[in-house]
């Protein structure tokens, strides 16, 4: 699915560029590139730039003052807390689900995979709504929670749950296809050598999928820290207590406190840029031959590597 690209080796497109019979006219290339740059410039770069320009509109002093506001600090803390819970939880789930799905064959496997993807199809607002219907005052479990004096919606637990929902599939859907492609041979070999299940998982399986896991983790984290719609519904917007950073941005903006709003937003934007940088890094790393992949049994290490043939000879 889009946005979470499977880590696969893609061929360089440059070979097409050197084939004269299927090259476009120069002006056509220019036009297409210009249109692309224009489109990306307006729709991508401008909003990104706007965040930082507006944040520093009243100077660096005003920018840094925004973070001294206790409500802002509380929002940052809450965001970090939610991410610190949601990401590891979904990571554990992702690994468990991948193990069950990729290493075994059972009835209903495809259905399970589709169900895991379900949260992607659900609008963020609806993701929050369902938790209100379940845990809210008039929800199914409402009376029971009130009786035991447990607050879920309009409190931190609700925010955590809603975040768990929207970030649910991220790690699983990166790791499952990779584990499926890798098969069960390595693990079976380890078992025959006497390793326990846990040892096998830790020392054989995990290293093989580490890039996919890291990739999923950073995407999950970005979404967990940045989720707005779902959290907005369940949080109750209680300033200083149940506001995450995105919600705090909304409050500041609605109060016309633009500089502060963009200042906090700029932190989130920097997080997004860091996420993209890490994503590119992991994609690049996963293309290199990793130490985890053992060489073919019996291959002669000193055998000459065939020279790449540039002239289409067979």
């Amino acid at each position: 699915m889009a946005g979470t690209i499977a880590l696969k080796n893609t061929q360089a497109g440059s070979s097409v560029a050197t084939r004269p019979a299927i090259a476009e006219l120069a002006w056509v290339k220019w036009l297409l590139v210009t249109v692309s740059l224009g489109f990306l410039g307006v729709f991508l770069l401008m909003p990104l730039a706007a965040v930082f320009v507006e944040a520093f509109r009243k100077g660096a002093g005003a920018y840094f003052t925004s973070f001294r506001d206790p409500a802002a600090l509380a929002a940052i803390k809450l965001t970090l807390l939610v991410a610190a819970i949601a990401v590891p939880a979904n990571c554990v789930f992702g690994l468990a689900a991948s193990w069950a799905i990729a290493k075994f064959s059972f009835v209903g496997k495809n259905l399970l995979i589709s169900l895991i993807d379900l949260p992607f199809a659900v609008s963020p607002v609806i993701s929050g709504l369902i938790y209100i219907l379940l845990y809210g005052l008039h929800g199914w479990l409402g009376p029971w929670l009130v009786a035991h004096d447990i607050q879920i919606v309009f409190a931190v637990p609700g925010i955590v749950l809603a975040t768990l929902f929207v970030t649910f599939p991220f790690i699983a859907r990166e790791v499952i296809p990779l584990m499926q492609a890798q098969g069960t041979e390595d693990e079976e070999a380890a078992i025959t050598l006497g390793a326990s299940g846990w040892q096998t998982f830790r020392r054989v399986t995990l290293p093989n999928v580490k890039w996919a896991v890291l990739y999923g983790v950073i995407l999950c984290n970005a979404r967990a820290m940045g989720e707005f719609g779902a959290v907005s519904v369940v949080s109750g917007h209680i300033r200083g207590r149940t506001n995450t950073m995105p919600l705090h941005v909304e409050i500041l903006y609605n109060e016309y406190n633009f500089v502060a709003a963009f200042a906090v937003a700029s932190l989130l934007a920097m997080l997004a840029l860091a996420t993209l940088a890490l994503k590119s890094f992991f994609e690049w790393r996963s293309r290199r031959p990793l130490g985890a992949a053992p060489p073919c049994a019996g291959a002669d290490a000193s055998a000459p590597i065939p020279v790449e043939d540039l002239s289409h000879e067979h």
Partner: protein, 357 residues
């Protein structure tokens, strides 16, 4: 429509794929570009088609004496058949074959009825009459290649270019299609040039063979020519099996152990290392040494192979020699494993470093 290539050089970065190559393929001929991997044969084919451009200033490609170097591929009227077919997977066989006709500008495009007729004719020609509505994914490799051929022929090309057309198929299908291509060419008579690394294929199918190596043409000739009168060691080695013996020049002879070959024109090369190259069927064996010198060897293996008997001999020094004799000959000598025989070349070539004799 003859094909001529004059002084073509083509470089990819630092790799020189073609070195000043010149060639003429007369009109109506079926010629083969034969050579090992990296010899430049596919590059040459693609330059002729316009899929690669020769280095600037380096020569010309002419169809029927007209320079087509400036023309884009789509205007060269070449039919190109790719090794992996390059069929349009989302189109039926019919749509694939009619493609070249349907992309013509309105003025020159034939009406639908004519197109349909033409496609039917071509399907009959390639013996795929009932496959018009199938998709490439539903066809076998051999069938796909025939569709690719029909598609290329549909635009009535002046030149047909095939890039290892049977390379992706298995041995039996390859054999069948090879003969089928020859018959097709006899019917259709389009000047054709095909690339192959399989010398058997070239020898069986082509009117003319162009042997290439490392970007250069080594020899051009009929199959008989290149096989029995190879221009140099490379051609000799590449086409067919060959035995190699090592020895020295002494006076007017090249001496290889107990075997001496007359080499009258080699006086100046006294003491130089010499190589004797003989094809398996050019060696004769006898149960006795004979008057002219011969090599003694023990029969290591006897293998009956259809009309001939293949013998593998081993000399005392451990060299293996391949000999082919007829069944009659083999019976006459009562050849069995372990028998001692004496080997002499009927016809051979001696190579002394740079020049052949």
């Amino acid at each position: 429509m003859s094909i001529e290539v004059r002084n073509i050089t083509k470089t990819f970065g630092t790799l020189v794929a073609l070195h000043d190559v010149s060639l003429v393929v007369p009109s109506g001929q079926l010629a083969a570009l034969l050579g090992p991997s990296g010899s430049g044969k596919t590059t040459l084919l693609r330059v002729i088609a316009g899929l690669e451009i020769a280095d600037p200033g380096s020569g010309a490609v002419l169809f029927h004496e007209q320079d087509v170097g400036d023309r884009h591929t789509r205007h060269r009227k070449v039919g190109f058949v790719f090794q992996h077919y390059a069929l349009f997977k989302h189109m039926t066989v019919f749509e694939n074959i009619s493609f070249g006709l349907t992309v013509r500008p309105r003025r020159t495009r034939p009406p639908a009825k004519v197109i349909r007729q033409k496609v039917q004719q071509l399907l009959a020609l390639v013996q795929l009459e009932n496959m018009a509505d199938r998709y490439p994914s539903q066809l076998s490799g051999g069938q796909r290649q025939r569709v690719a051929l029909a598609r290329a022929l549909a635009v009535e090309p002046q030149v047909l270019l095939l890039d290892e057309p049977f390379g992706a198929l298995d041995a039996r299908v390859r054999q069948e299609l090879r003969h089928w291509l020859r018959r097709l060419h006899d019917d259709v008579h389009v000047t054709s040039l095909f690339v192959t690394h399989d010398q058997e294929e070239a020898l069986e199918v082509a009117d003319q063979i162009v042997v290439m190596n490392e970007g250069r043409i080594e020899q051009v000739g009929t199959p008989d020519n290149v096989f029995h009168q190879p221009a140099n060691e490379f051609v000799l080695n590449f086409l067919g099996n060959v035995n190699v013996f090592h020895g020295r020049i002494q006076k007017d002879h090249a001496v290889f152990g107990s075997l001496a070959v007359d080499v009258p024109s080699a006086g100046a090369a006294e003491g130089c290392h010499a190589r004797l190259l003989v094809r398996p069927h050019d060696l004769e064996i006898d149960s006795a040494p004979g008057s002219a010198g011969s090599l003694q060897a023990r029969v290591f293996r006897v293998q009956s192979a259809g009309p001939i008997v293949k013998l593998e001999l081993q000399t005392e020094e451990g060299q293996h020699i391949q000999v082919e004799v007829s069944h009659a000959e083999s019976k006459r000598l009562d050849v069995q494993q372990g028998t001692i025989v004496y080997v002499r070349p009927r016809q051979s070539r001696v190579y002394v470093d740079d020049y052949s004799i």
